[in-house]
Symmetry: D2
Subunit: 429 residues, 4 copies
Amino acid sequence: MTLTKTTSPLATFDRVESRVRSYSRSFPKMFDKAVGATIYDTSGKAYTDFLAGCSSLNYGHNDPDLKAALIEYVSADGIAHGLDMFTDAKEHFLANFEQYILKPRGMNHRVQFTGPTGANAVEAALKLARKVTGRNNVISFTNGFHGVTLGALAATGNGKHRAGASTPLSGVTRAAFDGYYGPEINTADLLDHQLSDPSSGVDAPAAIIVETVQGEGGLNAASKSWLQQIEKIARKHGALFIIDDIQAGCGRTGGFFSFDGMGLSPDLITMAKSLSGMGLPLAVTLIKPEHDIWKPAEHNGTFRGNNHAFITAAAALEKFWADDSFATEVAKKAEYLADRLGAIADEHDLGIKGRGMMLGVDAGSGEHAAAICKTCFTKGLIIETSGSFDQIVKVLAPLTISTEQLAAGLDTLEAAFDAVMGLHRAAAE
Amino acid sequence: MTLTKTTSPLATFDRVESRVRSYSRSFPKMFDKAVGATIYDTSGKAYTDFLAGCSSLNYGHNDPDLKAALIEYVSADGIAHGLDMFTDAKEHFLANFEQYILKPRGMNHRVQFTGPTGANAVEAALKLARKVTGRNNVISFTNGFHGVTLGALAATGNGKHRAGASTPLSGVTRAAFDGYYGPEINTADLLDHQLSDPSSGVDAPAAIIVETVQGEGGLNAASKSWLQQIEKIARKHGALFIIDDIQAGCGRTGGFFSFDGMGLSPDLITMAKSLSGMGLPLAVTLIKPEHDIWKPAEHNGTFRGNNHAFITAAAALEKFWADDSFATEVAKKAEYLADRLGAIADEHDLGIKGRGMMLGVDAGSGEHAAAICKTCFTKGLIIETSGSFDQIVKVLAPLTISTEQLAAGLDTLEAAFDAVMGLHRAAAE
Amino acid sequence: MTLTKTTSPLATFDRVESRVRSYSRSFPKMFDKAVGATIYDTSGKAYTDFLAGCSSLNYGHNDPDLKAALIEYVSADGIAHGLDMFTDAKEHFLANFEQYILKPRGMNHRVQFTGPTGANAVEAALKLARKVTGRNNVISFTNGFHGVTLGALAATGNGKHRAGASTPLSGVTRAAFDGYYGPEINTADLLDHQLSDPSSGVDAPAAIIVETVQGEGGLNAASKSWLQQIEKIARKHGALFIIDDIQAGCGRTGGFFSFDGMGLSPDLITMAKSLSGMGLPLAVTLIKPEHDIWKPAEHNGTFRGNNHAFITAAAALEKFWADDSFATEVAKKAEYLADRLGAIADEHDLGIKGRGMMLGVDAGSGEHAAAICKTCFTKGLIIETSGSFDQIVKVLAPLTISTEQLAAGLDTLEAAFDAVMGLHRAAAE
Amino acid sequence: MTLTKTTSPLATFDRVESRVRSYSRSFPKMFDKAVGATIYDTSGKAYTDFLAGCSSLNYGHNDPDLKAALIEYVSADGIAHGLDMFTDAKEHFLANFEQYILKPRGMNHRVQFTGPTGANAVEAALKLARKVTGRNNVISFTNGFHGVTLGALAATGNGKHRAGASTPLSGVTRAAFDGYYGPEINTADLLDHQLSDPSSGVDAPAAIIVETVQGEGGLNAASKSWLQQIEKIARKHGALFIIDDIQAGCGRTGGFFSFDGMGLSPDLITMAKSLSGMGLPLAVTLIKPEHDIWKPAEHNGTFRGNNHAFITAAAALEKFWADDSFATEVAKKAEYLADRLGAIADEHDLGIKGRGMMLGVDAGSGEHAAAICKTCFTKGLIIETSGSFDQIVKVLAPLTISTEQLAAGLDTLEAAFDAVMGLHRAAAE
């Protein structure tokens, strides 16, 4: 097969693609290859990728072992699409997931393949929580992001995405995330107060759904004690405790789950993004057995059996999670990252946000953050923003990035902060 | 990579997979390879696949050209996951889609990548229709199937899936599909009557969403004239006309679109299933330019840029839709299929349903249909049911199946009908 | 007390009353007294009242016995407002309702005081049906009117009122009323077909709510057999059968209930309008004992205990429903009314609508109907329109009107039809 | 008319009335007469009424002037039911409302007659706010009570009433009332924070609806500064500011409006309960002219024109609000009441709640409060509870009560506290 090269390939997008497109506006180049933390445009220019598919490429682009497994599988006419039938590839994924993830953590959750997007996993989790409890109301948090299909979108905080529904969203009550009202106010206490009051107007919840670190919402990281309290509140009020680990999971904050080591026991866990290891669409909802009361096919979807993704996911679990070495390596890099971002923040009197390899600098405004990212892109660094006002410059480098490439990328980022914030300071003076 | 073989691999599923699984209950074998219309279980037994991923594998399993394109792409470190950034692979898909699909039909729709499941495409279409019209109500049809995320599920008729929501579904008014109340009643007239009456209680619609053939709903096929009338009703009442071509599109009924040659001009079209050509997750919503009023990122999703699927989809468009030969071949097979199913139906005083290569026999009850499918499976034929009572035995063979294999599969099916319906007759006498 | 007379009293309304007002636009005079079927404006001009408070004044204005009972009660410091405490007046109403209404019909419904508007009674009925069945969906009919509070409004067909909500209305599925699609189509069959199909997309209903004659919707009168079939459908599908008898009840169609003699046994019945006998606010929901599963105060309201209304209601029950004489008299008048309206309709090639003393002529268009009513008003007759296009001229005379006054009013109406339709014919020729 | 006396009149209620009844359970006597602050049971026993129709009888039972005006009006065949036509009585009410209420306060609100229950007034206000702003979301407060029809109920906090809907309630976001989280946290700041954050998940509101004192919610009284801040927040975020003055208005807290003298300018105000002066059903929504964008009849109702209520309401306005003397008298009584309740509270280490003549004692638990009220009833005092746990003993005496009767009632209350709380203390020791 030959890829058609026209004189102006970007014109195709302008002609044929919907205006809804987003990231391509920030990075208006055409890309064709990618390896590890590097992505190339069609002119051959290399970029360091600090976006990593919004945390979908935690193991980098085209990891050689995952890629080899996939090529081997496809070459042998492995099943690509299997609906939800039993396949060798799926069995392998489940077995590895059990062996490397569930068993070491003493977990016995069952795996639901929900359709291969995070939103599908969230939709399934919310449906199931309502089915299990016979209740309708779901508690989600300020600045949370859970997807844009109507059920998931109701739980999502982002105003632009909510407005996109063009219909009222219902069934969700918003609670304040950890630290939302500042350090003085324990927002978990507020939630407990409302739920303990039969006349508060907040109906008894089917579930509380929470991200441990809000990736889209501004890298707000919940503390262990707050999360423990939220879990207790869920139990106390008869709600299922759901952790949406779609962006923060798969090693992004160090452990496989973002809540590893926190003593939490979520009833349901949603995963997607980096689960397939190579960026292929895959999503699951993990379910404690006692809640797995689905009737057959009650929630389904055509692409639940994306077997290519099972192959790369199984390989990734084996490669990265068979022992602690990867987690240890990530922890080291996270420390380095925190040091470097801390220095940048200090230099400009800014704050840092996040946890693990999910860290950013609050640039103070969306304008500054956008200018910084734009500057980075001209210097060969792909990086994006996050937060209510897109004010957080967010580093989501592949976890497998080499120390050298990470350092170099951070040098570029530091220079961009200096350039933009320096200008800003100059203008202010 | 070696796939782990345990003594009892199916036990893994029993231990680790959610009880929501469905098709694996009908076909309790573990499969590992598939080529064309044949799928193999791990014991090496071959099955003819008359399910074809619920029409996601119209070009068969692992088409050699698509497979080659994919292996070449992966081997060369082509981008796997690109969010919605411009990539070579995406450009190629869009260019081919324009050249082979849109231009020959005089269409100028824009392509929205919506997240790679049909439900995502439907969610996007319904959101956009509401945004364009400023209205909330959507008309969908009895027995329609549009996905199980909450927005799409509201438009879906199936009671089991609706109950799975465990929360009321709103924003949709149900109208009767073509022929729903028998041949005497033109259901389009009923709809027009309601919409023309300001006091009917049916609010002015944002959209009318319809499948030309209801794949899940029982292979109900709408007539050309009825569809034309529905489009006129949409125009008359200010609603967008949406065709959900997820199951019936991509050649299943002959043309690329199931409505080719019907003189229809849908405002929005949803596609998924066979779009990637090889069963990889890919979904799009096609939008007339005047309705493409999305703000950037208003609807988004992590896996919008499943570049592997772009590669196989682009190759499929080039291979099968560059000229009429494939469509002609499908038309011939469809004729043969209709003859054979007609004969089966006549033999047992049953009716046939559907259109093109999306054809089935109404076995009269779900029990009969299930027994027939079970018998087929023991004889090496994978086939499933459809309809309100799962009473339709549905043939969804790959369109690329050889005449011989199609004939042999139908022989098996015929024998199963004889066995089951004969027994039934005997019991009745 | 002296009523303030300013030089231009209507200016007060213009200054101080909301623009939402409606009937005062059709009858722009200030009224101050009313007796029987006659209402007087402040200049002393007498009008015959063929509107009768939209059927709230079935026994005429200020019936002397009801008025005497009220004056006696107030003079003796009878309790006016008693929340829902036990009062003498309430006991008297309940006892009379049991004696004159329930017992003779073999009914054992319990009476819920719901807040004194029809909408409150409907809200209570819908809540209770959902509570009893554990289901959410309610079936209501095209052109039905059940009130404008959000729960009742969802069941109401009128587009203007629905739009007034400015928020989507949910929880209700619309079915076609008797004859909605013309005489050839039995709409009850259509409903049964949908409810019998688990994949129709119409969720199992909590209730079917129906008016026997649609007062606001255009005087559409359901046949006995259709209503019986609807009741059977409700039973068959596990739904409560609710008759909204707010406008058609209290003798308007002959019997106390509009369904007297039809062999129906509604689970819930809503009543308001003429229930108090004198136009005072009073509404009830009648509940079969087995469905009376309310918890104390689960539905409440401040004005449930409008004791003045209990007094007049009790007196009305005793005066008009202790024997058959009133019903017989109404039947005779209804016959006369039908003859006269039939003659008017024949003269102008129009049709008549309705049943009993709830009869009208379809003037063919809202413009004609409005012109006819306007002409009547100048001649001292108050009469209004109904229907999807306000095209029905509706006679809702007090049931106690004298034959002479009824005849005179109909003479006026006849002349107005002649004048307006004659003009129209002339213009058309 | 003779009221039927059976041997056991209460048996009628048991036989014929729905189990939903509430207050009659606390006061299981049959009442027949009432004057001022005294209500009599049918045995002639007198009770002091500290419930006053839940603040619907602020001017006492059967005020002689109001009663005389009503008898005169009825005797003269004044119109009882006038739909929403112009009547003398209505004009008189509007003129008096303008003269005695609006003008002295520099207000130019228009009066909408909404159907004669508070819930109707709230439904109209919420609809209109949504229509004016084109937004859906309404902010209401913890422990707020606004009625039990579905639209109003969504804004109501009480869990029992919400559950009565048996369907999810939507369109409302709950904010914390003044002091809800204790004195340290300014809940208005929390609300402003959420509304200022585009990613908070709290959609831009159509309205903020608030009671200045939450009558049902536990006599929580908002401070002037908090209410001013809430109004500012409404303005800042483009929402209408609605005060629900149904229970706290009509003099209950001193001024005619509960917010008199607070420098507030609500866009919409809902009123009902004591508006008619004599407990007759009447409700209005007051609308700033710029928001009075209703189309004719967009919100309607049969009993909007309860002319008897106009007569007594007009008389009450003239009698009590023509000058300051009534307000001054109420203020004095309120001071006395506060002293007495303060003493009771101090005696038992309890707190007092409320403002003006809407004051109560927090008995610590619903059990204590119920026992206290029960004791009072045996001593001839009618009094009820309020609050999330029915723990507040609430004094809602008629504002016109004599000082002697008020003192005597409070003596009874004091004794009941002593008896119940003393026992409790004894038990605890």
